[in-house]
Symmetry: C2
Subunit: 95 residues, 2 copies
């Protein structure tokens, strides 16, 4: 394998770990938000807020991915966050 | 809305933008890797390399997400990267 390829793959591994850490940081934030919403009797899923988050991202997007790809990836990330809040809710009911 | 919730949402928006920037940074790296592989006649999709990247992530994962969720999200991210390489390949054929 060329040195250049090896160097890029190392960089890619580092970016992957940074992404992992950010996704988990997002998970911790989403859990905290879920707890506050639960206390205040607010619904966990808020399509308007989700749309606003996506619009905020759209205004920062510069490529190389198509925006539709970014939207797809973030919808998956949002869904995972929602599931995390729902798990917390189920656990709270079991206490 | 409580101040606490508003503060957390602002933090979440910032994390979303950081994620967006990292995903796009990853896209730029993946494009470069694709160009080198193309030149060297290597296949774009390499399941062993993908498994190695996931194992590398597993060793860094601390939650709160289940690892299965992380694996699902990264498979989507990897797929988007592969599509980016394939687009480049198609464009190269059209030149």
């Amino acid at each position: 394998m060329s040195n250049e390829l090896e160097k890029l793959r190392k960089e890619l591994d580092e970016v992957n770990v940074e992404l992992l850490e950010l996704i988990n940081k997002r998970g911790r934030l989403v859990k905290k938000i879920g707890q506050i919403k639960e206390k205040q009797g607010m619904k966990r899923f808020d399509p308007v807020r989700e749309r606003n988050m996506l619009n905020h991202l759209l205004s920062h997007h510069e490529g190389p991915f198509e925006y539709s790809t970014i939207e797809h990836l973030f919808k998956e990330i949002f869904k995972a966050g929602l599931e995390l809040q729902e798990d917390d809710h189920r656990k709270a009911l079991l206490v």
